[in-house]
């Protein structure tokens, strides 16, 4: 059209390409500046917390050296502070939680993604999300009152039959006529069960999401070759979802390490360096903070902040690794048409 016009009017001015960049209107400039200001505020607040924690770690490490990480006792009276025992306790509780949560969340995710009838699938996914929304203090009460009696009996059974493994040992006579129940309560084992309830929904949600993205073409090909359902799951779904399994579990681990109130409700605090999850008495970093912040002087408060900083660094590292693993597992998602 324009060509005919131009040929009809050869004297017309040459078209100049319009400048694509228009000056921003006032409202746009306000929008960009305003949202940048908000983002800067949020950045200042969040980065400020991280920096504040990092800076309060400086005097602590200056005073106690790196022995702070290995010293087991927390005795402000003797000026001996260290998080060796609570670090071990934190990881013991998290390990017990994962021992329960990993198989259960993997199998539940498989059930929801593969075996559940299609019409209840959405409901099951909502239920898993609901499980994640239940407050941790509720799981604490559940573990403390409902699970503890059964779990301590199970701990006794483990001690009686697997007591030759140091991991299952308890300082009590397993075959005593009257069972020393108190030795088997308030342990990392029971706290781990309650924490597992918080890990399961997180891990399960990630795994289920990745499983349901398994390439349908490969699934159908496996079925067409005569594979059983489990054959399809083993050869298609699980290899495809490997990243989701690892990543989901690590996200759950990050949650398990930072959990406070369920742990504080259940455990009886102790500062012994031990890996005896079935026995009474353990502690975690979050439990240490919750128990000791009240009477802390400024120096001890800095030590508690340092403990919190160490915990934050650990969860941050785990979460970052998990995000990388999950992201990599999804990169091949578009490979199948």
């Amino acid at each position: 059209m324009s060509t005919t016009l131009r040929s009809a009017l050869p004297e017309a001015e040459e078209d100049e390409p319009r400048d694509l960049w228009i000056d921003e209107s006032g409202s746009d400039r306000a929008f960009v500046l305003g949202s940048r200001a908000i983002a800067a505020t949020v950045l200042a607040v969040t980065a400020g917390i991280g920096l504040f924690l990092a800076f309060s770690a400086v005097p602590t490490f200056g005073r106690y050296g790196f022995g702070f990480l290995t010293e087991t006792q927390w005795q402000p009276e003797a000026d001996v502070l260290g998080i060796g025992a609570v670090l071990v306790g934190t990881f013991t509780i998290a390990a017990v939680a994962l021992l329960f949560a990993f198989p259960l969340s993997l199998l539940t995710a498989l059930y929801i993604a593969e075996y559940a009838p299609a019409r209840i699938k959405a409901t099951l996914v909502s239920l898993v999300d609901l499980m994640a929304a239940v407050p941790s203090i509720i799981y604490g009460l559940w573990g403390f009152t409902l699970v503890q009696p059964h779990a301590s009996r199970f701990a006794l059974w483990l001690h009686q039959h697997l007591g030759f493994i140091p991991f299952f040992r308890v300082d009590a006579d397993p075959n005593a006529a009257v069972w020393e129940q108190t030795r088997y309560t308030a342990s990392a084992f029971i706290a781990g069960i309650a924490v597992a309830m918080m890990v399961i929904p997180m891990a399960c949600a990630v795994m289920q999401q990745v499983f349901s993205q398994a390439p349908p073409g490969e699934r159908e090909a496996a079925f067409a070759l005569g594979a059983t359902h489990w054959g399809v799951v083993r050869t298609v779904v699980l290899p495809f979802g490997k990243g989701g399994i690892i990543g989901g579990t690590m996200l759950g681990l990050g949650r398990a390490l930072g959990e406070t109130i369920a742990v504080v409700l259940i455990i009886s605090p102790s500062f012994d360096l031990k890996v005896k999850p079935l026995e009474i008495g353990t502690n975690s970093i979050s439990g240490l903070i919750a128990g000791r912040f009240g009477e802390a002087t400024s120096l001890q408060l800095q030590a508690l902040l340092t403990a919190g900083f160490v915990l934050f660094l650990i969860t941050l590292g785990i979460n970052t690794l998990a995000a990388m693993v999950v992201a990599r597992s999804r990169s091949g998602q578009g490979a199948d048409a």
Binding site: V32, S35, R36, I38, V45, L110
Partner: protein, 379 residues
Amino acid sequence: MSIDLEENPTVATPRPVRTSVRAEPSSADSVPMHERRLLSRSTAEQRFELIGCWVAAVALAWLVCGRLMPWHGPLVFTVVTVVLGVVLLAVITAVDAGWPEVVDRIVTTVITLAAGLVGLALVSTVLFIFAKGYRPLMHLNTFVDDMSGVGPRDPLDRGGVAHAIVGSLIEVGIAILVAIPLGIGTAVYMTEVGGRFARVVRTVVEAMTALPSIVAGLFIYTTLIVGLGLPRSGLAAAMALGVMMLPIIARASDVVLRVVPGNLREASLALGASRWSTVWHIVLPTARPGLATAVILGVARGIGETSPVLLTSGAATFMVTNPTEGVMNSLPLFIFSTVRSGEPIYIERAYGAAAILLAIVLVLFVTARLLARPRKGSR
């Protein structure tokens, strides 16, 4: 295909084989009809085997527990039943099928049982809290009274947790007033403006979602209460909750805004709309259900979080409505402090408060699901 079937009529009368897939006749009138087997359903034989196995397992477990072995208790009985059931099922399947089928059946059973166990744990948690906490809820004063002047031995028709409910609502209310504009504003900046600074913000915000809630509480405790010398108050607790919720809401909103289709934005800009009106009239309304879900789930998380308020709010036994003035109580904190008191009636009150807290979370959760639904339907 249909001619083929007419020539070989034996094909049309199949023997029921478990995994075989039957060819469906394309023209129904020319061939003798047979039932098309639903591949997803199990056959009558399989169902019969399944029921038989579990009945046998229960019977055998009854025999083993108590009669053959000195094992007692419902837990042991259940475990023995499950183990025997799986073994029996494997044996029965092995009678007329190969090894892959046996494994398939065992795995299916184990996966279903594990999912059932997780479901049982969730249901038992909810039922347990309501079963232990229903008695205080029977009294109206639980919802309208506070605990001032109520002793540990006073009956349940005196005192209540109104102060904790009000405290929770005020603290979470202030926290979301701070966290929602900042969180959603940051998410808008990260998705709609972009650039290098936005990437920095996104990295830091994602990193801060790893902040354990107790460390957020300790940060506020150290800076506001110890550092600035402010008293423990509802405001400090709200700040701790806000600091904890801010990265969560910002990250969730970022995810929601990123899935808004880009062609909507382009269409709006092509019509001459400014960036601001595109965000305000196109992007945010499109993402509204998702944003609402993100916010409500953040609120549910905040209202149930105990550790930040434990460090920052103090625990009042009376109604406090001014968040800047002195100690305040909240539902999680009330539960935490009374359940450890050792007084039976106090513990009962704690479970009552837990039931209220759980009910609030359930209501928030269902609201979030209902708000999220329209988006799912239009997809």
